[in-house]
């Protein structure tokens, strides 16, 4: 049996940052399923990463390289091509690879950093035949950017998530024709900057309130039927249109990958599909931390890194001394908010706590208000808030110290 202070599961941006931070104070082992570290970053060859942390626009591989170089220089024990099969509440881990066979690792603390997975056709139930030529956006991205394979020539993209928008541009630059991006919602689900620089720049049409209602083709996709949807997202009769294409790309959302977390009955948040965490990024099981997209799907890798460092620091701290939980303040998602992470504050004696959330509806001239019982303890004005853009607010030590109730509520209101 191997022993370590901290074991990090997943070597994407969250796992890399968490491992590096934890390694400042503890022995760390990093387990990664893939051949190389970096998670999804090596295939995200476009720029736009690192705006906040590095103050410049890096590409995905560059962002990953920065942390991979640091890992190489550290004492962190890295095992790639290693799959974790089981974890338990005593922090025993069973993992496997082709060299060590089955291995048992006894850790003092575990950091869950497994990231997220794309939703597939079966999760959105698109009717029709099952021909070749249907890919998720991330798979297409891997094929084009890593393997050098073009998934198709005439492309229809369903869903306007960021990866789908990025791939619309990538397909176009690589010589394919993107017939259009179809989004079931009345608004794009990706960031505005990606609609502009990936679709508008290349004249790719975005059809809102539309979805794919049928796929045609026996061996290979021959085309798809797209249909308008009404306010309740039901297809509208006689608006069907057949679009010949040889490839359908699905960019219909990401789901945190929590098979391991569920093995040990960690309390999950139904809204985020990730574990419930406190301000230290600790789950409901003491000593088991979670960070990055396994907690909730972030817009920006910078925020993944920042929160992963919080997890790493606290996991190492946990190994030294198990902190007493003194209180429990529930962070409640109030008006126009879907969820807030962290969901719980266990210790207010901190320099600051940053809360992440998304609004449910777009609002102009919005005001973000934090309430301690009925008392307003924080306000931030925003010119516009949109569901695709994650909002973060930071509560200062002064605000935290002054809290009196065991419930903290966040509302997004209209100022006018």
């Amino acid at each position: 049996m191997m022993k370590t202070d901290v074991t990090v599961i997943g070597g994407g941006p969250a796992g890399l940052a968490a491992a590096l931070k934890a390694a400042e104070k503890a022995d760390v082992m990093l387990l990664e399923r893939n051949k190389e570290l970096g998670g999804i970053l090596p295939q995200c060859i476009h720029d736009g990463f690192g705006n906040f942390i590095f103050k410049k626009m890096l590409t995905g591989p560059e962002y990953a390289q920065h942390y991979i170089d640091k890992i190489k220089k550290s004492n962190i024990k890295v095992k790639t091509e290693t799959t974790v099969l089981e974890i338990d509440t005593n922090k025993n881990i069973i993992a496997t690879n082709s060299i060590d066979g089955i291995m048992e690792i006894q850790a003092e603390s575990i950091i869950l950093a497994m990231g997220c997975r794309e939703r597939t056709r079966s999760q959105i139930l698109v009717p029709g035949t099952r021909p070749a030529g249907i890919y998720t956006a991330g798979t297409a991205q891997r094929l084009i950017n890593i393997d050098g394979v073009m998934p198709g020539e005439k492309i229809v993209i369903l869903g306007s998530g960021d990866v789908g928008l990025i791939m619309a541009r990538r397909f176009t630059l690589e010589g394919a024709k993107v017939e259009g991006v179809y989004e079931i919602m009345p608004r794009p689900s990706g960031l505005t900057r990606n609609v502009v620089q990936c679709l508008d720049d290349y004249g790719i049409p975005l059809h809102l309130s539309h979805t794919v209602t049928s796929i045609k083709g026996k061996k290979r996709v021959e085309g798809v039927t797209v249909t308008k949807v009404d306010e309740s997202m039901k297809p509208v009769k006689e608006t069907e249109m057949f679009i010949p294409c040889d490839c359908l790309i699905l960019a219909v959302g990401l789901i945190p990958e929590n098979e391991l977390s569920k093995q040990i009955n960690i309390i999950m948040d139904e809204r985020t599909k990730g574990a419930t965490v406190n301000e230290r990024m600790e789950t409901s099981v003491p000593g088991i931390f979670a960070c990055g997209n396994v907690v909730h799907v972030y817009d920006l890798v910078d925020d993944v890194t920042i929160t992963a460092e919080i997890a790493g620091k606290n996991a190492a701290q946990y190994v030294k001394e198990k902190p007493e939980t003194t209180e429990e303040i529930q962070v409640v998602a109030g008006d126009n908010i879907g969820y807030v992470v962290p969901q719980i504050i266990n210790n207010r004696d901190l320099d600051s706590v940053t809360l992440y959330f998304r609004v449910q509806r777009e609002k102009k001239d919005a005001s973000i208000v934090v309430l301690d019982g009925k008392k307003q303890v924080f306000e931030k004005k925003e010119r516009i808030v949109k569901p695709p853009e994650m909002i973060k607010i930071t509560l200062s030590k002064k605000t935290l110290t002054a809290l009196t109730k065991n419930e903290l509520r966040i509302d997004v209101r209209c100022r006018k």
């Binding site: 630059l173 609609v195 502009v196």
Partner: protein, 122 residues
Amino acid sequence: MNDDVTCISCPLGCRIHVEKKGDRITVVGHMCKKGEEYAIQEVKDPRRVLTTTVKIEGGRQCLLPVRSEKQIPKDLVKKCVIELSKIGIKAPIKCGDLVYKNILETGANIIATRDVESVEKK
């Protein structure tokens, strides 16, 4: 001349209004200096960072991701990608290495955005 542009410098995606009267340009709706600079550049001469891949031989993978060191005119992005599809380089490569000098006379160099070790080194 009036123009509305959406800033791509950060996720906020500010809608910025640019007004040009003779030599005077006024910008409204931005929230930071980057936004102001972006908007003025966007109406005068829109530019983008180019990212694509080039073939690499003898490496642990078959493609090397690359980018332009600085922004290039938007209209030239596609042409540059086509130009870069014609070249091939050899591993090993370090992140930041020069891959193609002054692409299509834009003054921008193309650099590698990751390390690729050669196969033998393993």
